[in-house]
Symmetry: D2
Subunit: 136 residues, 4 copies
């Protein structure tokens, strides 16, 4: 398994009048988790797009266990559970820094050739970068 | 079953550089579906909050079947599948107006006493308004 | 002068923990004002882009007079003050429906050839559609 | 004058279909500039609110000079131009890290007693923390 941590400060822009982080704004956190975990693997999403690969989200599952509040420093733990072929599965666990888990989520992304508009294989470089984490 | 339709125009603010509606912005559509469907039942969420009832989202499942594009006129069909007790289950089906289904989602919300910070029963008025749709 | 009204319901997604509409979310209202006023003039922004014209915002001035609250029905009055050549000047006045003005703003947009990446003239059709409102 | 720098990575959530950062999303950057500059002065906005002081935005001026793109690392330079009494004036200059200035903005905020709903004086602590930067 591959794991990665990144931190996020909850902003006023993220809150709603319940004083919670608005439920739709967690999608930004997953995005940050995905992109920064791929970056540590040497896989820059901006370059992937330039090379003609898009990675739209196919599905999303979110579990809101406790609210996130303004100015909370959140830890986003992102996990990749298998070496991707045409799809990439991420899991996310969000906790208050040094504290309890408040949120869990999963997403499926597909590798898409932006030219053909069709699914394509994961880039070799990403598969190679991930393989050490999954070797027997 | 209770069903409700409301329409939503995709704005530039909703798009991302893939030219798709950003995956996190669908949460706004579900919110509109929920609130406007409850309004037709005579249940105004703003009043509910004033009466001390909050309805945070507990979980969310989204399935992105086809992208939504800028200026698309979307139909949000919202369904309530059972008379709520302490939780309220919504399902959403989003389609381009007059066209194909592009997105499906489900959310669970809990009725929460904002004073006690604890789950509470659905308002009688909401249960009464929904009962005709579920009578045998 | 050309004037146009459109209505907007404040959503939970728009609020912040002060219970106000977050100051950055007014940009969505101006966008709705612009796009819907142009639509009534027969000028669809989605088609403009397909014809190779972009309209990025060059500057913005906002005056927050009173807060907008959750579920407020806002009236967005959009004004075009002159027939555009390479730039388009909009003014916005936002009020609670049937009530007081709570917000004022101005934006300048430029017509940009998306191919050349350079400013270009306003489409003839838009100039023609606006001319009756500015005839002597 | 007091100056402060903080960095921000442009996210997919921030982009629009022009491939630019959406004009309304800069408000988040100003917020980050404000809050992080105040934090370095020992003034935590979250604590201010708990002490009954809100700081809503009264006005905003933005100048979009060049677009910000996906994955750009932006430098937000925040300046406080005078010791606040009942209002706090911020200026922002946003540049690509190590590069050109792409955006400038100004905001006015007011100190508001959340209990009385009326303007109040800036906290002594903030005035004291700022005074070394403005001594003759």
């Amino acid at each position: 398994m591959f794991k990665h941590d990144v931190f996020y400060r909850v902003r006023y822009a993220d809150t709603d009048q319940m004083r919670f982080m608005y439920y739709g704004n967690y999608a930004r956190l997953y995005e940050i988790g995905r992109v920064e975990s791929l970056r540590t693997l040497g896989c820059h999403y901006a370059e992937l797009e330039k090379a003609g690969i898009w990675m739209p989200v196919l599905d999303l599952q979110s579990r809101y266990m406790k609210p996130a509040f303004y100015d909370d420093e959140l830890r986003i733990e992102t996990r990749i559970l298998s070496i991707p072929t045409t799809r990439l599965f991420f899991e996310y666990e969000i906790s208050r820094a040094g504290g309890e888990v408040i949120h869990q989520a999963k997403t499926t992304l597909v590798f898409l050739s932006s030219e053909k508009g069709r699914p394509c294989r994961a880039p070799d470089r990403l598969q190679a970068a991930l393989s050490p984490f999954f070797s027997v």
